[in-house]
C-alpha cells in the first residue's frame, strides 16, 4: 500500500487542473488569432470576456497548492512539484493575457482593411503554439527532452519577430493612414514572441522539476 496515496491523488489533481488551464489558454490564443485574421470583433470580445475563467482556474490552483503545502509538509521532489505547478500556472496565465492583448489589437484594428494579407503573423503564431503545446506536454510527462526541444524553437520565433517588425515598420511611409493598424500588428508580433518566452520558462521549470537544477534556456 502506498503510504501517501491521498497526497499523490491530490498532486495528480493539481496537474489535471493545470492541464485544463493550459488548454483553455491555448484555445484563447488560437481564437484571438482567428478573430484578428478574420476581423471578427465579436469573437475577439469573447476571448477578452472569457479570460476571467482562466484567472479563476489560476486562483484555484494556487489555493490547492497552498493547502497541500500546509497539510502535507512536502519536501524534495514533492515540494518541487508544487512549486513548479505554481510557477507554470502563472506562466500559463500570462499566456492567456497575451491572447487577450491580441484580441484587443483585433478590436483596435476593427474592420479597417488589412494593409496586406496576413501570412507571416499566422506562421509565427503556429510556431509559438507549437512551443506552448510542447512545453505543456513536457510538464505533463515530466520529459526533459521535450522541454529542451521546445526551448530550442525560441530562437526561431525571436528571429521571426525581428524580421516582421522591420517589415511592418517599412510599410509606414507608404501607408501613413494605416499607422495604427501597423502598430497593432507589431504589438501582436510582440505578444506572440512573449508567448514563446513563457513556453521556454515552462520548459525551464520542467527541467528544475525533474533534476532539481536551474538552467537558463533563454541564454
Amino acid at each position: 500500500m502506498s503510504t501517501r496515496a491521498n497526497f499523490d491523488q491530490n498532486l495528480k489533481e493539481l496537474k489535471a487542473m493545470l492541464l485544463k488551464m493550459a488548454s483553455k489558454s491555448e484555445y484563447a490564443i488560437k481564437e484571438a488569432m482567428i478573430s484578428l485574421i478574420n476581423q471578427d470583433i465579436e469573437k475577439a470580445k469573447l476571448v477578452i470576456k472569457r479570460d476571467s475563467e482562466i484567472n479563476e482556474l489560476e486562483h484555484e490552483i494556487n489555493d490547492k497548492a497552498l493547502l497541500l503545502i500546509a497539510r502535507e509538509s512536502p519536501v524534495a521532489s514533492d515540494l518541487r512539484k508544487i512549486n513548479v505547478a505554481l510557477k507554470v500556472s502563472s506562466e500559463v496565465e500570462r499566456m492567456a493575457d497575451m491572447a487577450v492583448n491580441i484580441a484587443k489589437s483585433a478590436v483596435h484594428i476593427g474592420e479597417e482593411k488589412h494593409i496586406k494579407e496576413l501570412v507571416d503573423i499566422p506562421n509565427m503564431m503556429e510556431r509559438a503554439l507549437d512551443m506552448v503545446a510542447e512545453s505543456i506536454t513536457a510538464y505533463y510527462s515530466e520529459d526533459i527532452t521535450i522541454a529542451k526541444k521546445c526551448a530550442e524553437k525560441d530562437d526561431e520565433v525571436d528571429k521571426m519577430f525581428g524580421r516582421l517588425i522591420q517589415e511592418l515598420l517599412g510599410y509606414i511611409p507608404q501607408n501613413p493612414n494605416s499607422t495604427n493598424q501597423i502598430i497593432q500588428l507589431a504589438f501582436v508580433c510582440r505578444f506572440l514572441e512573449r508567448i514563446a518566452d513563457h513556453s521556454t520558462n515552462i520548459a525551464e521549470n520542467v527541467i528544475y522539476l525533474v533534476t532539481g537544477q536551474r538552467i537558463d534556456l533563454n541564454a
Binding site: 503510504t3 501517501r4 512536502p74 519536501v75 524534495a76 515540494l79
Partner: protein
C-alpha cells in the same frame, strides 16, 4: 597528527562496524561531525540511528554482547582503541534522552550532580554553574524561586530542559540528543528547537529525530540511515530539497519506511 585536529571536525568516524551478538547493526559508517553544527540523524525504526549516537560517548558499552571495529576519533583520539576514561569522555560528550529523566532530587541538585562528580565542591562555584546552566536552557525565570523543589514536579517540557541543563553543567563539547522532543507537546517541542539553535553557538549537537520537519528546522547537516548503513549525509537543505539517493527521497517524502 590526526585529521580531526586539522579540520573543523570534532568527531571523525571511520569504517565503524557494530554487532549486537550476530546482528550486524552498523555497517562501515564513515561520518565526520563538525564543530558547532547541528547534525540530525533520521531513518526508520531499527536503522541504527540510536545505536550510532550511543557509540559517540560509548553509552553503547552498557549493552551486553556489543562488538565494534573501526575508529571513533574524538578530538583526534580513537575512543575505541585507546584507554579512555569513560567519565571524562561523557563529561565532554553529554547526552539527553527521549523523555526527561531528572534524578529524584531538587532542581539544584540535578544540575550540580555532574560538577560535584568532577570535584567542584564550593557552593559559590556550584551556584554559578546552576544559574548559568538554567539560563542557557531558558528555564531560569521559571524555576529561580524554587530551586530546591523536587525536579519531578516540573512539567514534561521543563524536565527535558532541566536534563539539557544538567548535561550542559559539565561544560561538554558535544551534546547528543536521542529523540529529545518525542514525548513533548508542540509548544515544548518548539522551545527545545529554539534552544538547540541557541546552543549551537557554543556546542556541537547531534540529534536523532523521527520528526522530519524538526530535522529540517534545526540542523545544518542531515544523515539518513537505513538498515545499519549511512545512505546519505549532506547539508540539510540538500537532503530536503534534492537528495541524491532515491532511498533518501523515498523516506523523507513518506513513500516508504
Amino acid at each position: 597528527m590526526s585529521i580531526a585536529t586539522l579540520t573543523r571536525e570534532v568527531f571523525h568516524i571511520q569504517d565503524l562496524n557494530l554487532w549486537y551478538g550476530e546482528h550486524h547493526a552498523l555497517k562501515n559508517i564513515n561520518f565526520p561531525i563538525n564543530k558547532k553544527e547541528v547534525t540530525a540523524i533520521i531513518g526508520p525504526s531499527g536503522c541504527g540511528k540510536s545505536t550510532f549516537i550511543k557509540t559517540l560517548n560509548l553509552m553503547i558499552n552498557m549493552v551486553p554482547n556489543v562488538k565494534m571495529t573501526g575508529e571513533i576519533n574524538f578530538n583526534g583520539q580513537n575512543v575505541l582503541n585507546e584507554k579512555i576514561d569513560l567519565v571524562d569522555l561523557r563529561k565532554h560528550v553529554g547526552m539527553v534522552f527521549q523523555k526527561g529523566n531528572p534524578f529524584p532530587q531538587s532542581i539544584y541538585d540535578n544540575i550540580a550532580y555532574g560538577p560535584r562528580i568532577h570535584g567542584i565542591k564550593r557552593k559559590k562555584d556550584l551556584d554559578e554553574i546552576v544559574t548559568k546552566s538554567l539560563m542557557d536552557v531558558a528555564l531560569w525565570d521559571e524555576v529561580k524561586d524554587r530551586l530546591h523543589a523536587p525536579a519531578l514536579g516540573l512539567s514534561g517540557g521543563q524536565q527535558q530542559r532541566l536534563c539539557i541543563a544538567r548535561a550542559l553543567a559539565t561544560k561538554p563539547d558535544v551534546l547528543l540528543m536521542d529523540e529529545p522532543t518525542s514525548a513533548l507537546d508542540p509548544i515544548s517541542t518548539l522551545k527545545i528547537e529554539e534552544l538547540i539553535l541557541e546552543l549551537k553557538e557554543k556546542y556541537t549537537i547531534v540529534i536523532v529525530t523521527h520528526n522530519m520537519q524538526q530535522a529540517s528546522r534545526v540542523s545544518d547537516k542531515t544523515a539518513f540511515f537505513l538498515m545499519g548503513e549511512l545512505i546519505e549525509l549532506d547539508s540539510t537543505s540538500t537532503i530536503f530539497s534534492n537528495p541524491k539517493d532515491s532511498r533518501t527521497e523515498g523516506y523523507i517524502t513518506g513513500r516508504f519506511g
